[in-house]
Symmetry: C2
Subunit: 170 residues, 2 copies
DNA sequence: GTAAATTAGTTGGGTACAAAACCAATTTAG
DNA sequence: CTAAATTGGTTTTGTACCCAACTAATTTAC
């Protein structure tokens, strides 16, 4: 029920004298019931799976969300993009540079405010976004299968609630 | 229903002439329904909140899980620890070095297999673990309040299912 | 026995991220 | 209009992570 890469090695391992700290027998203590811990594990796993799914295309999940947000909000600024994306604006600098270099996006200075950029997708970018969308859909269908259609909405709602409310010690 | 960290800043921001790409009006497109995206946002938020909660103590969530696992499984090896922790063993190298340097853990070579280390907590380490446990409990209670006691078990179960099943394309 | 394969841990190279300090353009106060 | 504050974006610095290549210890094959 909880086989990771580990159980494989335990089975492969004919010698049973594993010294008390093998995989299945690890005691997680209170960790086993802590949301944050499982959140991290699930996020990591899902991320990895996405990367695998999108292996043929050479664009990470982070890039994907970025493209999607630009596609949906043409003219968006880097700061707004960062906020929507839940990342620091400084994180976006190299990502956007890369996306521009690869010809997926355009960065035009605003006439009215020459500090800020106006981000839009190029045609190539739009094509890429379509590919990625298909790919992400496959990935998400997988998640659907695992979560179950019935619980999905509720699950997402809880995730959103966590994002919105935690740390905002109201 | 979908306020992120963003809405806060939008409220703080008295000037309402945000130029069309502000926070609330961002169109997330299909992203809004994708589990992976929300998983990332929630994980990041939860992580940040933990760090804030544990600010007085100077130990990150990752360190915390590591300490807990060693405390619960004295003598565990670095590799087993990495697996349980869902991280690469190479990631643990500097972390364990740090924990050892700070006097929280002991790393003893096994007599029977001089390649591997046997990890245990020192008394200081045990004290620290207790502090952290209390701190993590506060953090988790917060999450509890957000998720609701009723849904918590189910939520965790789904997270585990994702961790276990995704990528194992059966 | 020695050679090949395996295993525990480390090192090096690279990505993704945040925080703080910074620059330049713009707005606000006086 | 000028000085101060604010804002959009970049740079720098530091952490956390993975992967692939490596070393040393141990096991397996012959």
């Amino acid at each position: 029920m909880k086989q990771d890469a580990l159980s494989r090695s335990a089975e492969t391992d004919s010698a049973s004298q594993r010294k008390g700290a093998a995989n299945e027998n690890v005691d997680f203590g209170p960790l086993a019931n802590w949301v944050g811990f499982h959140l991290r594990l699930a996020q990591t796993a899902s991320f990895q799976a996405f990367v695998a799914e999108a292996r043929e295309i050479d664009l990470s999940p982070g890039r994907f969300a970025t493209l999607m947000l630009i596609g949906r909000n043409p003219g968006i600024s880097q700061t707004a993009l960062a906020v929507a994306n839940g990342r620091d604006k400084s994180t976006l600098t190299p990502i956007l540079e890369d996306l521009e270099r690869r010809g997926f996006i355009l960065r035009e200075k605003l006439k009215t405010d020459r500090r800020s950029y106006q981000l839009t997708l190029t045609d190539t970018g739009k094509k890429m976004l379509e590919q990625l969308t298909a790919c992400a859909k496959r990935h998400d269908d997988n998640l659907d299968r695992i979560i179950g259609v019935k619980d999905r909405a509720k699950f997402i709602k809880i995730l959103q609630k966590i994002t919105a409310e935690i740390g905002h010690d109201d």
